[in-house]
């Protein structure tokens, strides 16, 4: 389902979905439920004072990171999931307990307590952690994609940013490099109508998808609340990139349903707008659909909750990092190794150690060649 786009643009719409199996659909729903459940717990932990600093969630936007990340192959990289994109981490298979430890400032493999909120990545899963400065990691993603192109690898870089992040100069420089050099980068812009308190009407005159043409790349508008549409658009963009035809900007239209962060009551948002969008909740609508197809959604929710409870318990039992560790490792002293392979459930790749195996759907051969 594509939402109406008020702007004129040159745009490819994704034509036809690649085949999603029932297991794939369950996985999509599962990751969305996982993201929401995790974040609800995250808000609670933050309000209980257990999470230092701040907490951000992507309530209502789950379809975007989940659908997009799901379309990737194991050797693709994500650079980087942002504050609304926890689902991308879940799809790639980063350990839940580690993520919670990270949020709580406990010792953990992802950030060693040096970073908080969604500032983490998992090199072992092909994810590079975001920085706060928007949209700096888009520029970095273009550089990673360049390396893939130069080496002739069948890999893409997937990047995320919001509507507001199209205003900084770095966005333009990244768009220009990507479009001009046809880098294999898949660009997901999450247009949720707001940048903190600022509506898109005070951010830009022309929608992000319509601006893609100025860089010689297609801009696609997708219903960001439809996980399969996100999957299909990202899949098509990835195919295009792998063909050597360069980047695609996918503008996922959605709405930020919560405050900018858990500290923000978002009084500046019209409740009627929220009500209208709530009707189109990406999880509720997809769950209803899958339920109709016979998926046991309650069981799925229960399983997610069990895993979450266990992870939270394990995280809360984890000590804080050793204060003496704060200053080590400023500089790398060893030859860096390659990034690891992320889980790519749709391609049948479940994680390191898995070489593919049976049940790999058609098209999975595209999922990357490794190094």
């Amino acid at each position: 389902m594509l939402v109406e786009d008020p702007h004129r643009t040159t745009r490819e719409r994704p034509v036809g979905h690649p085949t999603l199996t029932r297991a794939d659909r369950e996985a999509l729903l599962g990751f969305m439920v996982g993201m929401r459940t995790f974040e609800e717990r995250g808000v609670a932990l933050y309000k209980q004072g257990r999470t230092p600093g701040s907490f951000y969630d992507g309530h209502g936007q789950e379809a975007i990171p989940v659908g997009a990340a799901f379309a990737m192959g194991p050797d693709d990289v994500i650079c980087s999931p942002l504050i609304r994109d926890l689902g991308a981490h879940l799809v790639r298979g980063t350990d839940l307990t580690e993520i919670i430890r990270h949020h709580l400032g406990r010792d953990n493999r992802l950030s060693r307590g040096r970073e908080g909120n969604v500032h983490f990545g998992d090199p072992a899963k092909g994810i590079v952690a975001m920085v706060s400065m928007l949209p700096d990691m888009f520029v970095v993603a273009v550089g990673m994609a360049m390396a893939f192109r130069l080496r002739g690898e069948r890999r893409v870089a997937l990047t995320f940013f919001g509507d507001g992040a199209t205003s900084p100069g770095a966005w333009h420089e990244a768009m220009n490099f990507a479009g001009l050099r046809k880098e294999p980068v898949v660009i997901v812009c999450e247009n949720n109508g707001l940048a903190y308190s600022t509506p898109t009407s005070a951010q830009f005159a022309v929608s992000p998808a319509d601006r893609a043409a100025a860089y010689g790349m297609p801009g696609v508008v997708v219903d960001g609340n439809d996980v399969e549409a996100m999957f299909a658009a990202t899949h098509a963009a990835r195919e295009r990139a792998l063909r050597g035809d360069g980047p695609t900007l996918i503008e996922a239209r959605t709405m930020r349903m919560h405050g900018h962060g858990s500290h923000d009551d978002a009084r500046y948002v019209d409740p009627a707008v929220l009500d209208a969008w709530r009707e189109r909740d990406p999880i509720a609508t997809y769950a209803a659909r899958l339920q109709g197809d016979g998926v046991d959604v309650d069981a799925l929710r229960a399983a997610v909750l069990d895993r979450l409870d266990a992870a939270v318990d394990a995280a809360l039992a984890t000590p804080l990092p050793d204060p003496a560790s704060a200053t080590d490792g400023l500089f790398a002293t060893e030859e860096p190794g390659p990034l690891g392979r992320g889980d790519a459930p749709w391609s049948g790749f479940a994680g390191p150690g898995d070489a593919g195996g049976p049940g790999r759907p058609a098209g999975a051969g595209d999922a990357g060649t490794g190094r």
């Binding site: 400032g105 400065m133 992040a165 900084p168 100069g169 903190y196 308190s197 600022t198 951010q203 200053t327």
Partner: protein, 344 residues
Amino acid sequence: MSTPLTRAPDAAPAMAPASADRDVRTMTYLQAITDALREEMRRDDRVLVLGEDVGAFGGAFKATEGLFREFGADRVQDTPIAEAAIIGTSVGAALAGLRPVCEVQFADFVATGFDQLVNVAGKMHWRTGLAVPMVLRLPSGGGFAGGPFHSQNPEAWFMHAPGLKVVAPSTPADAKGMLSTAIRDHNPVCFLEHKHLYRRIKGEVPVGEHLEPFTAKVVRRGEDLTIVAYGAMVHLAAEAASRFEDGRVEVLDLRSLVPLDEDAILASVRRTGKVLVVDEANETCAAGAQVAALVADRAFSDLDGPVRRLAAPDVPIPFSPGLEQAVLPTTDRIAEAARELLDY
């Protein structure tokens, strides 16, 4: 707002430091900042505020709360996320006769507008004779689990960029008085307001017009050792000093980094003979390095001990509170360094 953005105030009064008989009100450091903005905007129609979310929302920290309602959308402008444009259009507006006060949402983000600041704003007057009266408000500093991108203290970068004034108040009264002075200054002023002081620090603040000069201030008298600090570190330094006998440890609050009140620093150190310089910023090439180098040159013959420094080590500021406290200077560490110096 009958003739918006055009009426200049009549004449600048002489600086009137807070005195006992002035009307004062107790407010937070943050409220003092808002108070200064309001006062100066009332006084001078050319003053305008711009930045991300500073309008109806009142800013990420609520420093501009109420201004949009009082002064309207032309003088309290929400901008797109674009620090270079925020700074650069402010330079332009200043050249055209306005007095922009722009907010960078967190000081950390100033790196994305750095070029406009150092190359355009900072060099303009020396190169062309054109003044650039503007203020860049920079919510800075750590101490609240903000992590590597919401805790930085970038002032030394500005100090090393000729043409920028750099100030960093530590109290509500100074925050108000120095922000007002900054807005009336004819040059680009980097105004470092410490986020961790915003709501924690309260104090008496003169009501109405209040100006503070860009000079240092002795906040505690002592004869045996000078602790030089600024911003949030002043409070830790004063606390550490209070652990020693009265009259031993002097605390000098720099308040302004450019201009640096060299006379005040040298006068204090020459008297005490020992100095500890504290920075919250990363150690290498920090403001404290400049102060230490100054002392080692110009007060050398009066020194009775090494010029000691305490600063954050050269790593980003960690998120997890235990790690963060391991990196930021603490009252204990300041007191310990002071003790060592006193015993030297």
